[in-house]
Symmetry: C2
Amino acid sequence: MPSCEILSIGTELLLGQILNTNSQFLSEELAAIGINCYFQTTIGDNVDRIKFAMKQALSRSDIVLITGGLGPTADDLTTECLAETLGVGMTFDAEVMQRIESFFKTRGVSMPESNRKQALRPEGSELLPNPRGTAPGALWCIGTELLRKADITNPDRERIVMTFPGVPGEMKAMWRETAVPFLTKRFGNNVVWSCDLKHYGIGESALAEKYSHLLGMSNPTVAPYAGRGECKLRVTAMAGTIAAAENLAKPIIDEIISASGTFFYGRNDDTLEVVVGRLLTERKLTIAVAESCTGGLVSKRLTDVPGSSNYVHLNVVTYANEMKEKVLGVRIETLIKDGAVSEQCVKEMAEGIRKFAAASIGLSVSGVAGPGGGTEDKPVGLVYLGLAHDQGTDVRKLMLPAHITRQEIRQRSASEALNMVRLYLLQHS
Amino acid sequence: MPSCEILSIGTELLLGQILNTNSQFLSEELAAIGINCYFQTTIGDNVDRIKFAMKQALSRSDIVLITGGLGPTADDLTTECLAETLGVGMTFDAEVMQRIESFFKTRGVSMPESNRKQALRPEGSELLPNPRGTAPGALWCIGTELLRKADITNPDRERIVMTFPGVPGEMKAMWRETAVPFLTKRFGNNVVWSCDLKHYGIGESALAEKYSHLLGMSNPTVAPYAGRGECKLRVTAMAGTIAAAENLAKPIIDEIISASGTFFYGRNDDTLEVVVGRLLTERKLTIAVAESCTGGLVSKRLTDVPGSSNYVHLNVVTYANEMKEKVLGVRIETLIKDGAVSEQCVKEMAEGIRKFAAASIGLSVSGVAGPGGGTEDKPVGLVYLGLAHDQGTDVRKLMLPAHITRQEIRQRSASEALNMVRLYLLQHS
């Protein structure tokens, strides 16, 4: 297995002005295609330190991925430092130049002279196209002779260097469209295909335990990831073609989806709100939400999905008891006797919003998000969910840990509410 | 000026399972106290690579900050690798052990034997207390003799090493409470005080230009930062005491606040929604929001603020035209003639929600968030804002760039709406 080092270049990283999301992205992607990443190194826009880090990375790793420093300004030093580290000159790519010039022309702006440097590449390297921006990268397979001349340790095996712009969107597009096919073909003559199976309602360790018999496999591989209260299993297969890799993964994916039951909710870019939207659209149903402690977050997430106006017509945030009464018809006795954070109140809220918005489904959330407002009976973290439908109204009680923040209580409550809708829709097709 | 290197230790970072926010935090903090950070290095839980990286960092930097690897498991190698790199043994801190044991005792759990290693420190180092967790760090001033024995380059000047747990909350508390006072005292016999002056409605380059005469100063320093559509100026002063540093910064802060006018909106942890909430509370006013394209985001942000239930009683998301008519009383002629995304519609929405919720201020947002739904007349990115108050209704038109995402259009629209409320409240005290 080849080893890899990620070099991030940019003084703004060393000043903490931006977060290095590129290194995380590349590391996760490398792991998925079976390439070991042993070092992530970040340096500023300084010729000596960049060259030092390049030489060190080349000496200890088979593959060096470099992000940043490909722009047109004097601070952008990646290409020239790379050429100097290997002791070669730079070639000018007239085709790239033309593309950059026409980019400026279509915008009616004249190209600054400094942009010419973006058409330069170290001699002997190839173009790594940039489908999303003007500055391309370089893909360079560096042979034994050059490595030896440049005094790189262990010069007997070839090294691969790829340069990417620091802009995450451009870097990711280049990585996916050019680097992954190249690397997977190179190391194993194979392409890689992977699929994330997203789960809700089961923790990472429970998921890992349930599928422990799959986690040790080598092709396809299965790996659990956790984050933001959710878990996913990534299934990755390598084969001669995408179709063959997909075929290899399919039985494992089918097994997981079947065994996970309703814990499994979607693939890849699916979110709970996307899946809820899909189910509502399929069933030609609409939803209306009445929120209290989540303050609009459930509504915001539902409407994050393009096209959500087809099934969301009205949501309300009834923070005040008076508004729960006036808009949703929650009975005054309920508010006095049970309080706003109660089973009875979310039941009436869900039924009220369903009626008021003339929606198929009414969803409600009421709880204590903190940090203040908790009592012994109703502590911070106590949240009720209501779901009114044509056959009645379901209510759920959540007791979230009191030590998590107001934001987390709101996020988890919103996720639980969306998941409650998902489970209801799955049971009523 | 001393130089610093940040070492992040943890295989989960190299697998991309977690994002390295610690390095960004420490880098930003170092810049604020005038310490140069030249390298950020990330390595996994591997003895050889950890020791290699430690030796390299000690050879090229005056200060080495190490995060991660202080836990109780076999993967946690930081302390022993650090001792081995410098060729010393480890001392056992009975007091720390006692604190860890009592932590488990109060939770009614017996302490796993493996936790004993958290009471170890390299011989000669001091305790770096952890106010938020069980595992403390080490603070180690390493002298010439030890550096020379351990074969560290440039052994003639002392090195400082600090170890922190990888958990961001614990690391930050330790940094602020122990490391900053130590470092500022050490390097300049001074303490550091800084204040972020947050701005809205002015870009980073315009802000930098406006205050170019301040950016070159050395004490206090003034530095611009940008992110998420906002900008801040950080003013940092060093002096013998906090009060003296604050006094040094005060004239500059006053100058900026006065010259920035309403572009300046708050300090440090203030957000637009926090400031709007403060102004509403001071003026004993309430607000109600009617959203269309932002889908609940304005409501969510307003209610992110603890105590917002005092001024938010009801918000609505009227996605469907029918609901704009039914709930807000938008006239059917307006919807037919001008459409939902129009000056007239947001005017009626703002007036409608103000009346419906009986609030002091009615705020409305309607626009085309995309990616679909744009026309030649009303392209993606066109957003109208309405603000109804006791003297009439104000309307604003935004034309956001069409190439930004649906999420960004929604975020920027929400920020503009909150800022519109802020500016209104400032003018009507």
